[in-house]
């Protein structure tokens, strides 16, 4: 078919091919303006459409960002409010516990101070100092005896009396000093008690000061969140992601625990519900085991909710304290019952496994071995069966964190997807635009021979006819270009004054204008 077509003009393929080429090039030259228009308009249309789509995605992206920030800040505010409330409760507890006893403490301090003051006064009411007996004694000693034994005797007696009086007075003074020392000594426990009381007060005040500092910090964070600052948003996002990964890890561990628990009770469950019935493609015994585990987890969630550790169910949270207490007791009771059931099932599993092992040995023709220390795995399985439900009951805590942080993570994922989509659309649009330009040039490459002839003819015609007019035209063109440039500068200045735009926006606009300017291909003389 192709060969027939090729040799339609001549028997010689080369000649025929040449004729075909001439025809094709002529046709392409004739249809050049339309082909150029088709290629460029298609490129521009794809580019424009994808730009519009990209713009829509950008707006959607901004909405998602705002929405994510709103949710994040709302959660952060809620958490900060709770934290501040908790700190205030702590302060209240300190005030109620310690400062409510402050009047008693104050009275105790006053009494101690009064006692110390009294003792002090008692200690300063000292006896008068002994008189200057020494001078009297020295005077008597220095009196001239004059050799009269009577005078000497009298003087000796006086000296003795004075000495006795001096000794008595000194002794009285010493006793008084000892008494004052005793009073001061009795003040020591009072000082100690006073010191202890003051330390207590200091501790209380320090605790209050720490709480006040924490409250201040929380309040600063809250303020930052309220203002919607980037710092707060970044901090909350980071915190949310950390929570997501940590809670995800803990949930994975809990899932493994659940699988162990499932295998512990699935086999003996067949003994209770039968091993031959199926729901769908799953044995009923397996489903029953799963249901037991799920119910245990649910009871754990209710228990944690009733204890106000988690806040997953507003209905339970809004119950009054008494009802919540009853609910907690009911959940705990059911959990204990299920743990007991699991423990017995684990024991039954051990018995069944033993029986099956014995049967297998019998079928294999081996003698049934006496197993020693069988009670150790039995007790181990029973304990595992009892403890695992309680361990699974705590899954509510990481679950709550996971659910709360999942919103942030999903928001970030959605944002990432939108951003990737936008970039892809921009890339495709830009590529299609450039591709259309490339195709236009490629088109001209195919028809370069007639185009060259056209240029040559045109050049000669122009040279022949319009040499005198060239100068005038050139001047006109230059002045027109200057005017246009001036007008554009004025317009730009006016626009920048009337509409102050952000740097980014103006840059984007400039880029768009450049692109559009690139798109305007000037028509050649042939196209014209």
């Amino acid at each position: 078919m192709f060969t027939d077509m090729l040799t339609i003009w001549s028997a010689s393929p080369a000649l025929s091919l040449a004729i075909w080429l001439v025809i094709i090039i002529t046709l392409l030259y004739a249809g050049r303006p339309h082909a150029h228009q088709l290629l460029r308009s298609t490129g521009r249309a794809i580019h424009g459409t994808l730009r519009v789509a990209s713009g829509s995605i950008r707006r959607l992206e901004e909405r998602v960002i705002n929405r994510n920030n709103d949710v994040l800040l709302a959660q952060g505010r809620e958490d900060a409010e709770n934290a501040i409330e908790r700190e205030f409760t702590r302060v209240n507890t300190i005030v109620e516990r310690d400062l409510s006893q402050y009047p008693v403490l104050h009275r105790k301090l006053t009494e101690t101070l009064e006692k110390i003051e009294t003792d002090y006064h008692n200690s300063i009411e000292n006896k008068p100092l002994p008189p200057a007996w020494q001078e009297v004694m020295d005077t008597i000693r220095n009196l001239p005896s004059s050799g009269d034994p009577a005078v000497a005797n009298i003087l000796e007696n006086i000296k003795e009396v004075v000495e006795n009086s001096h000794e008595q007075t000194l002794k009285a003074y010493q006793d008084d000093t000892n008494e004052r020392h005793g009073i001061l000594k009795s003040m020591r426990p009072e000082w100690r008690s006073l010191n202890q009381n003051m330390q207590k007060v200091q501790q209380t005040i320090t605790g209050l000061e720490d709480s006040a500092k924490t409250i201040d910090r929380r309040m600063d964070e809250y303020e930052s969140m309220r203002k919607g600052e980037d710092k707060a948003v970044n901090s909350l996002t980071s915190s949310s992601l950390t929570q997501f990964f940590i809670s995800g890890l803990v949930l994975t561990i809990a899932a493994f625990g659940g699988i162990i628990n499932f295998h512990l009770i699935a086999m003996p469950m067949a003994e209770m519900v039968g091993g031959n019935s199926y729901i769908g493609s799953m044995p009923t015994s397996d489903i029953a085991a799963l249901v037991i585990i799920m119910v245990e987890i649910t009871m754990g969630l209710f228990l944690l909710e009733a204890l106000q550790i988690t806040k997953l169910f507003p209905v339970i949270r809004n119950l009054d304290d008494r009802m919540r207490k009853y609910m907690g007791i009911a959940a705990l009771t059911i959990l204990v019952i299920f743990a007991g059931i699991e423990s017995s099932l684990a024991y039954m599993r051990d018995l069944l496994a033993l029986d099956r092992e014995a049967l297998t040995q019998s079928l294999a023709g081996a003698a049934e071995a006496e197993s020693q220390f069988r009670w150790i795995p039995s007790i181990g399985q029973m304990m595992l069966g009892f403890i695992l439900p309680f361990a699974l009951a705590f899954v509510g805590i990481p679950l709550e964190s996971f659910i709360h942080s999942l919103r942030t993570v999903l928001g970030l994922v959605a944002l990432g997807v939108l951003r990737t989509l936008r970039v892809t659309l921009r890339l495709i649009g830009g590529s299609s635009n450039h591709l259309s330009k490339m195709l236009v040039n490629l088109y001209d490459v195919f028809i370069m021979v007639p185009l060259s002839i056209e240029r040559m003819v045109k050049y000669r015609l122009e040279n022949a006819s319009s040499v005198p007019q060239e100068t005038a035209e050139a001047e006109t063109v230059v002045s027109a270009a200057e005017e246009v440039e001036k007008a554009e500068r004025e317009r730009e200045a006016a626009a920048s004054k009337s509409k102050p735009q952000s740097k980014r926006k103006s840059r984007r606009q400039k880029t768009d204008e450049d692109e559009l300017a690139d798109e305007d291909l000037s028509l050649t003389a042939g196209e014209a």
Binding site: A270, G274, N276, L363
Partner: protein, 230 residues
């Protein structure tokens, strides 16, 4: 704050709807045509002529099947002799209880009965009515209505029907997998191996023409590798 709470409520309701839809879908899938998961196996052993000496293979096969079958499955052991299409040809049959502990007891009893038959066996039969045995097994397998039906044929597949018996009939082995085990070669097969191949091919053709699936496992160890009863 109220706005956020409303949004949360809306999201929670949407999540609830999604969960309900998934659960309903799962229930609809579950409530479809119930799949029969039970299995049934019939061991047919040849006690005619020289093949009677291969009784130990039957014992091994029975033990293997007892270890593989579980609650709700069925197992029967029969033998091929002069006239095999009678109730007396069934040595033991059982459908295991739903409770694993009871099923274990049933397996022990079953094993004792098969061993008792093997131990008390004395005289091999002169003829071998394989078709009668296959018909007996087919009736049993149809009766238990299991999801998977297996017929284990322990024989040299050399049929020697007494002239008084009419065995030229259709077997109707639809959905039954026939597994020929330990097909022993006879002395005449040594002289002309083509006879052995023809015998195997004719049984394969007969089984497949009657809607069954054919498998040949000469070595008992390969039975597990072939994935029979899985």
């Amino acid at each position: 704050m109220t706005h956020i709470t409303d949004t949360k409520m809306r999201a929670a309701l949407q999540g609830l709807r999604l969960i309900t839809a998934v659960l309903l879908g799962w229930l609809l899938v579950g409530c479809g045509e119930p799949t029969n998961h039970s299995r049934a196996a019939f061991v047919l052993m040849d006690i005619s002529g020289s093949y009677a000496a291969e009784r130990d293979q039957a014992r091994r096969l029975t033990n293997y099947l007892l270890s593989q079958l579980d609650t709700g499955d069925s197992l029967a052991v029969g033998f091929i002799d002069n006239s095999s299409f009678t109730e007396r040809n069934i040595i033991a049959q059982v459908t295991f209880d739903e409770r694993p502990s009871v099923a274990s007891q049933q397996k022990r009893i079953f094993q004792r009965r098969v061993i008792g038959f093997m131990d008390n066996f004395q005289t091999p039969s002169y003829h071998s009515d394989i078709t009668g045995g296959v018909l007996l097994a087919r009736d049993y397998l149809e009766e238990v209505d299991a999801g998977q039906k297996h017929l284990f044929l322990l024989s040299d597949l050399h049929e020697d029907v007494p002239p008084r018996l009419e065995r030229d009939m259709k077997l109707n082995l639809s959905d039954v997998q026939v597994v020929a085990i330990n097909v022993k070669r006879q002395r005449s097969d040594n002289e002309n191996p083509q006879e052995y191949e023809q015998r195997l091919a004719s049984w394969e053709k007969r089984v497949e023409e009657n809607g069954g699936r054919w498998a040949l496992v000469n070595n008992m160890e390969r039975l597990e590798k072939r994935g029979v009863l899985r």
